[in-house]
Point group: D2
Chain length 469, copies 4
Amino acid sequence: MLRTSDQYRTALQDDREVYYRGRRIPDVLAEPELRVAIDHAAIDFDLAHDPANRDLMVAKDADTGEDISAYYRTPRSAEDLLARSKLIETVTAAGGTMVTLIKEIGTDALFALQRTLEGESLERVRRFYRHCLENDLAICVAQTDAKGDRSKAPSQQDDPDMYMRVVSTNDEGIVVRGAKVHTSVSVNSDEIIVLPTRAMGADDRDYAVSFAVPLATKGLKLYVSGYAAGDRNDFEFPLSSRHKMLETLTVFDDVFVPWDRVFVCQEPDKAGPLALTFVEYHRFTAVSYKLPLVDAMVGAAGVIAEMNGVIRAGHIRDKLTHLIIYAETVRALTEMAANRFRTGAHGIAYPDPMTTNMAKYTFATNYHHAIELVQDCAGGLLVTGPGGEDWENPEIRAVLEKYFRAAAGAEERLRVMNLISDLTARDFGGYHAVLAVHAEGSIEAEKMQIFRAYEPRRTMAYARKLAGL
Amino acid sequence: MLRTSDQYRTALQDDREVYYRGRRIPDVLAEPELRVAIDHAAIDFDLAHDPANRDLMVAKDADTGEDISAYYRTPRSAEDLLARSKLIETVTAAGGTMVTLIKEIGTDALFALQRTLEGESLERVRRFYRHCLENDLAICVAQTDAKGDRSKAPSQQDDPDMYMRVVSTNDEGIVVRGAKVHTSVSVNSDEIIVLPTRAMGADDRDYAVSFAVPLATKGLKLYVSGYAAGDRNDFEFPLSSRHKMLETLTVFDDVFVPWDRVFVCQEPDKAGPLALTFVEYHRFTAVSYKLPLVDAMVGAAGVIAEMNGVIRAGHIRDKLTHLIIYAETVRALTEMAANRFRTGAHGIAYPDPMTTNMAKYTFATNYHHAIELVQDCAGGLLVTGPGGEDWENPEIRAVLEKYFRAAAGAEERLRVMNLISDLTARDFGGYHAVLAVHAEGSIEAEKMQIFRAYEPRRTMAYARKLAGL
Amino acid sequence: MLRTSDQYRTALQDDREVYYRGRRIPDVLAEPELRVAIDHAAIDFDLAHDPANRDLMVAKDADTGEDISAYYRTPRSAEDLLARSKLIETVTAAGGTMVTLIKEIGTDALFALQRTLEGESLERVRRFYRHCLENDLAICVAQTDAKGDRSKAPSQQDDPDMYMRVVSTNDEGIVVRGAKVHTSVSVNSDEIIVLPTRAMGADDRDYAVSFAVPLATKGLKLYVSGYAAGDRNDFEFPLSSRHKMLETLTVFDDVFVPWDRVFVCQEPDKAGPLALTFVEYHRFTAVSYKLPLVDAMVGAAGVIAEMNGVIRAGHIRDKLTHLIIYAETVRALTEMAANRFRTGAHGIAYPDPMTTNMAKYTFATNYHHAIELVQDCAGGLLVTGPGGEDWENPEIRAVLEKYFRAAAGAEERLRVMNLISDLTARDFGGYHAVLAVHAEGSIEAEKMQIFRAYEPRRTMAYARKLAGL
Amino acid sequence: MLRTSDQYRTALQDDREVYYRGRRIPDVLAEPELRVAIDHAAIDFDLAHDPANRDLMVAKDADTGEDISAYYRTPRSAEDLLARSKLIETVTAAGGTMVTLIKEIGTDALFALQRTLEGESLERVRRFYRHCLENDLAICVAQTDAKGDRSKAPSQQDDPDMYMRVVSTNDEGIVVRGAKVHTSVSVNSDEIIVLPTRAMGADDRDYAVSFAVPLATKGLKLYVSGYAAGDRNDFEFPLSSRHKMLETLTVFDDVFVPWDRVFVCQEPDKAGPLALTFVEYHRFTAVSYKLPLVDAMVGAAGVIAEMNGVIRAGHIRDKLTHLIIYAETVRALTEMAANRFRTGAHGIAYPDPMTTNMAKYTFATNYHHAIELVQDCAGGLLVTGPGGEDWENPEIRAVLEKYFRAAAGAEERLRVMNLISDLTARDFGGYHAVLAVHAEGSIEAEKMQIFRAYEPRRTMAYARKLAGL
C-alpha cells in the first residue's frame, strides 16, 4: 500500500499529546508552525505517487508482490544499499536539503532489530515490520536518554528515571517510564520505536528495553522544541519557510506496552549490540541525506560568485575547489560504503562500518569550514540585506533593484543571498551545523568506530616486515 | 561634555528617514526592534557615568581640560592604543559580545582623516572632530559602495550611481548621489561620515569624495536590514533579546553637503590612502571588540562541559585547550599590535599594520572551527531544547527540570545552552560568523595587507647568506 | 615473454652514457649505489616468476595468447583498472614503499599515446607497444623540460633548447635537442619515451615532439642526481639501504630518431591532449603506489606506540585514528576512481579524472601532517639513536639493550625507530615528501584538474532551484 | 672571563669517554664528524669577541663588574628576557638555524635550580653557577631518563636503573647509576647538569636526584648518536656540512659525585617543581632559537620563488603569506612571553608560561605544513638535482649551467635548492622536524601546560553572566 500525503496528514489528527510553545496542541495540522514540518514530511508521499520517481520510490513486497514504499525494502546487496542511498538523497533534495526522515530512521531501526534479535522477539519485530510496511506508516525512533549524570550508569543515577526503564511487567505487557531527548519527527509519525542508547551491565537490567507504540498512546507526551519557531516569508527564508524538522523531549509517563510490541525487555546483553547495529544503518542514512546539503553549498557558492562577478578571481576558484573536494569526497565515501557492503544475520546487508564512519567524519569535521568558504564567496550582504516586507513595497523595491544588482539582477542575487543566509547564517543553518557535529553520533563516536572497525594486523605486520622483524 | 544615555536617545528623535520591514519609521525610539539596538548602543553612555569605569571611559580634553569620552582621545603611544583597545573590549563585554560601535568607528575615521589630509581639508576635519568631541556625538561611517560590476572602475559602470559621486558643486557646497551598503549603527548615530571605498584613478574624479552630515539630512535614506528581526524572549535568546546592531542600505539621493563638511572632493589621489589609513585603525578596533566574543566561547564551552559532567574527558580538554589557544593568540597579537605602534602625520599613533592584520586573520580563519568546538562541547540540545513559553508554563517546567538536569540543574544548564545557541546556532551567531569573514575587510584583504606590510629583505638576505650567496 | 631479473640486469650493460657523482660510469651494474636501484627495480621481474603472484603479475597477450607482464594489459573495464592498481600496490609494497616504476610509467604513456594519436602515428605507437610487450622491456618516460623562464613559451626562450625540440628532419628520421629533468628510472630502463610537457601554440611547432629510443642511443646523456647518495647499513637504513629510485637530468644532444620511433613531430595541437591523457593514467599509478607508503605509516605508528608502551593513551589513539582515516580515504578514492572508469578512443579505459585527482590531492595535502603524527607517536629517539656500527660492537650493544627497551626489547624497538627515521626523517623520507608535493603533477595542478573535471551544472541548478529561481 | 673558541676547543681534549660509530674516540677534536659539531658550538665564543655583537653577547658580572658571557646574566625584567631571546636568536642565526646550546640550556637549568632550591642546596647551586660563569664554561643538561615501561613509576621498573638513581651515599658524596637519553651537546661541553625528568612519589626517593659533574668524570660514558653521520660537501649540504648538534645516550655507571656538586638527593618533592621550572626557561630558549629557522623558511621560499620566476603567481603569494603569518606569529608570541614576564623566588624573572607554550605549540604544530609550503615553492629539483662532485667537474657543470637556469643563474638557483633540500628534505631537515615535535617537551606537554596555565575563572564567569546566571 502506498498512502497519499493527505492520508498521511489526516492520520496525524489523533489523541497524541503534543506541547508547543507552552501550550497543548489539540490538532497538529491546525498549528501553522507544526504544519510546515508536516507538509515537509508529506513530500515523501507525494514523490512516491509521482511517475518520475516511481522506480526509486516504490518497491515490490517480496511476500505479496504489492507496491510498497522502497524504504521498506530489506537490503541484500550493494545495489540495494546504493538504491536506498539514492532514495534518501533524492527525497532530501526535494525537501530543500532537509531530510524527511519519517521512513529512513524507522527502517534503520527495523533492519537493526531484525539482525540483532532472535526467537519470539524476532517474530514480534517481523510482525511490526509487516504492519508498518503494509500500512505505509511513518515511524520515528527515540534513542538518546535524558542521561542525568554522565559519569554514572543508568542504575546508579539518583533519579531512576534518567534512562528509560521498565517499571513493571504483567501478562499483558510492560509499563515503562523515562524520557528520550532529540526525538526527530515524533510529532508527525504514526509509530515510535524505542531503542536503548548504550551498552548496559547486569545492574542495568530494567533499562534494557526496546518496543514500539503508536504516538497516540496514553502517557506518551511530546514536548516540541521551540528552536527555529516563528513565521517566515519565503523571500528571506526560501528554505526554512517550507522545510522543517521537529524535535521533541519525549516523555513516557508510565506508558503501557503490550507484549506484541515489546522487542527487548530486561535483557542487558541485547542493549549494546542493538544500539550499535542501529547506528550501522543510521550513519549511512545520515551521509546519504547530507549529499544534497553539501551539493547545495557547492552550487550556491558557485552561483553567488558568478552573480557577484568574481568567479574568475584566483582565491574564489580555490574556495570553490575546496568545496568540490569536500562534497565529492563525502559522496565517494558514501558510495564506497555501499560497494563494500557486508551481510549480517538473515542475509540482511549493511554498509561497511569503517567507510560509513569515514564519510560521516569527513562530512562533520569539514562542515563549519565549508560554511566559512560559502560565506566568503557570498559577502556581508548575507546579514545586511533587506527583508521580505521591504521587497513587497514597490517604492523600496525600486531602490533595492537599483543598488543590489551586480553581474546579475538584484532579485536573483538577493534570492541567492537569502538562500545562503538561510543555509548558513540563520537558525536553519545552525540546525544543520549542530546536526553535523552531533546527529547520528558525535565526531568522537565516529572516530571511535573507525578505530574499532579498522583491522590493524595487515599494516602492523607490513611495518614489522619493513623493519626487518 | 559627557551625555547621558537619555540625552543620546532623545537626540535620535529627529527627521531622519528610516525604513524598516517595508515601512517608514517616524520615531526610531518607538519601534521595539530598533529600540533594542538603541538601548544596546546606549550602554556606552551609561558606562561612562559609572564611577567603576571612569578611568577607562573618560579622558581630559587636551585643549580645554574638560571631561570627554575616551574614544575621542588621539592616540600618541602604545599606552594610548592599549587603553583604547581595553575601552572597546570592556564596552563590548558589557554589550553581550556585540560592539556598540557608535564612537569606535567614527573616531577610527577621524584619526585617519587627520593623518591623511592637509591644509583647508584638515582644518575642516579638525573642526568636525571638535564638534563631535564637544557634543559627545555618536558617529557612523559609510564606506562600502553598491559597486555594481566588480570588474569595472566607478566611472565605467553603466549606472553612474553605483559608487557615491559628486553630482554638482557650487559656492555653498556639493551635491552627492549614490548608496553605501553595510552601514552599521546609522539608524542610531548623530552624524554619518562618508569615506571612499577604494583607490581611484583620474577618471574616477567625481567618485573621490568624503564628507560628514547629520543623519537627519534631506535626501539621506536609511533602509534597515530585515536580518535577525522578530521579537525574542530572554530565556531562549539571552544575548539577542538585548543586544543588536542595525545595518542599513544608506542612500544619498542628491544630498547637499556644505563645504565645511566636505573633506575630500574630486581628489582621486586621496581616495586610496584614506581608505587604507581608516582600515589601519578599524581592524584594530575589530580585533579589540572580538576579544569578548572569543572569551565568551572559551568560557561557555568550559561551563557547559562542566554542567554536562564531561569536563574531565580527554577529548573535551583537548577542545577547550584549542579554544584557549585561539582566544589567547588573538589577544596576544592585538596587544602586540599596540606595543609595536607607529607614528603617523601630526604625531598620531597607529597600531602596527602587519600585527593587526595577523590578529584579525587569526580570528577570522579559525572562528568557524571554534564554533564547531563549542557546539561539540555543548551537545545537540542546542537545537532541540524547549522554548521560553515552555519554561513559563509551570507544569511543563516541572518536566523540563526533571529531565534536563545533569551535573548542574536544568535551569542553569538550559540557560547556558541557550547562550551557546544564541551565540553559535541562530541568527545572532550567524551575524558574528559572517562578520568574522567580511567585516572590516575580508580574509583575502587581510592576507594582502600582511604580505604588503611584511619587509622581506631581512629574511631573503638571510636565506641567501645561508645558501652561500 | 617474461624476462628474469638477471636478463633484465644484463641488458643494462650497454653503451648508455651515464654520469654519477662527477664521473662517467662505464658499467651501471658495477657501481654499488646505482646497483641498489637496479636491484630494487629487479624485484618486479622476480615477483613475476613467483607463483604466489602469478595471477596478479602475468596476463595473456590478447593477440598471441602468450604470457606477458600484466602491466602491458590494455585496460577495458573497472576490473582491469583495479587489477592494475593492485599490481602496482603489490610490487611497491615488496619494494619497501618505493615504486619500481620501470613498467608503470611506460605503459601509462603507451595507453595515452594510443588514445591520443591516429593514422600512421598510431601505427608506430602500436608497433612500439608490441615491441616492448613482447620483449618485456623496462621503460622510462621523460616529460618535464628544463623550462628556463617560466613566464615564456618554448619558442620565446632566449636559449632555444630550454624545451626539447626538433632540430632537423630528413627521410630517415629527426634530430632532437634539449633536456628533460626529473627523469625517473632512466638509468635502469631499456627504452625512453619522450612526451611534451604542456600545451603548445602554433609558434611552438618544433617543440611538439614525442618519440622513443633505446637508452644506449648516441647523444643521449644521463646525469644522475647526487641526492641520497652514500653507503648505508641496513640497521640504520632498513629501507634506503635496499630500495632506491634514480633520477636524471636527461640531455638529448642532437639525438637522431628514426621515423618509426617518432610519434609526434611538429604537431602542436597534439601536445596538450597527449600531456593531459598521460596524466590521467599516471596520477592513478601514483595513488596506487602511494598505498603501501600510507599503510606503512599507519602500521609503523601503531607498532612503535605499542613498543613504547603508550598505545592506550587517548592522544595516541587520536593520532592513530587520524592516520587511519588518511590512509583509508586515499585508498577508497583510488578504488572509486577505477569503479567510475570511463572509456576513451579504441575502447581503452581510464580512471575517472576527478576522483583520481581527489585521491592524489588528499594524499599530497595531508602527507606532511601524517609525518608529524608518526613522529609524534615514535619519539625523539628517531634522531638521537645509535648507529649500525654501535649495534655491531657487542660491548656497546649490551648498553643499548639495557637502556633502549620499553614495552618491547631494544632491538625490535630500535629497528622500528630506524624504519620510521628512514621513512620520515632522512633523505629517503625527504624524497617521499617532495614527491608527495610535486611528482605526477603539483598540488595546484591537481586542484586545477578537479575544478575542470567537476561538472558544475547539476549543483548550480540545484542551488538556483532552492533559491526559487 | 670570556674564553676564546680555541680555549674552548682545547679544554675538550680530556679523558671524557666518548663512543662514536662503534669506536671509543680518544680525542674529540681529531674526529672530523665530531669536529663539525665542536666548530659549530665554537661560533658562540667567536661571536662574543666580535665587537659588532659585544652589547648582545657580553654582560657585566653583578658581583665583580667583570665581563661575562651574557647567557649567565640572571633575568630580572622583560628587557633581560628580551635580550636573552635576542642573544639566542642571533647566535643561532650565525649557526645556520642550528642552536649552539652550550650555554643556553645550562643557564636555563641554573636559573631553575636557583628558583627551586633553598638552604645549603641553594648555596651549592650558587657556587656552581659562579664557577661556570667565571670560567665561561659550556654546559649540557641531561634530563630525559631511559624510562623503560612508561606505565610504571621509576621504583616499579623491573630493572631499577631505568631512571637515574642514587646507589649509595657517604660522607664525601653520592654514587649514581642510570642513563639519560637525548643529551644534546654533551660531547662538547665542560660540565653536565643532571635534572629529574618528572614528578616523583615517596617510593621514588632514590630517583629524585640532581647534580653536576665535569664530562671527564669516571664512569660517565657518552654514546653519540649515529644520526646524520657522514662526510658532506658544502655544495649539496650548505648547512649540515658546517652545523651540527651531537646527541648522546649518557650512561652513569656508578659515578661518584661529591656533595658540593649534589643539588637534590633523595628529595622526591623537589623533582616535579624542578622539572617544571626548568621547562619554563627551556621552552623560551626553544622558541627563541626557532626564530632563525622559521625566518630561513620564509626567506628561502621567497628567494626560490623569485629564482624560479613564479613569485607573481597567486598561489605562490598565498603560500608565502602563510609562511609569513606562521613565522611572525611565533615571533610575536615569543616577544609577548617576555613582555608578560613574571618574577619567581629571589627576584629571578621568567617568561609567562602560557604565552611561551603557545609560541612553542604554534611553532610545533605548523612546522610540517611549513615544510610542505617551502617545498611547494621550490620544486622537485630538491631531490633530483646534481651532486657536489658533478658541480666540480667542468664539463658536467657546463651542462648543468645551461639547463638549470631559470629567472636566476643555475649556480644561484642550485645553491638555494640545496639550502632548502638540506633544511627540509634531508637528515638535517629531519632533525629539525623531529625536534619541532619532541624537543623541550612534546606537543601534548605544551597543550597540558597551556590548559594548566590558563586561568579559567574570568571567562567562565563572563559566560555565566551572559547566560543570566
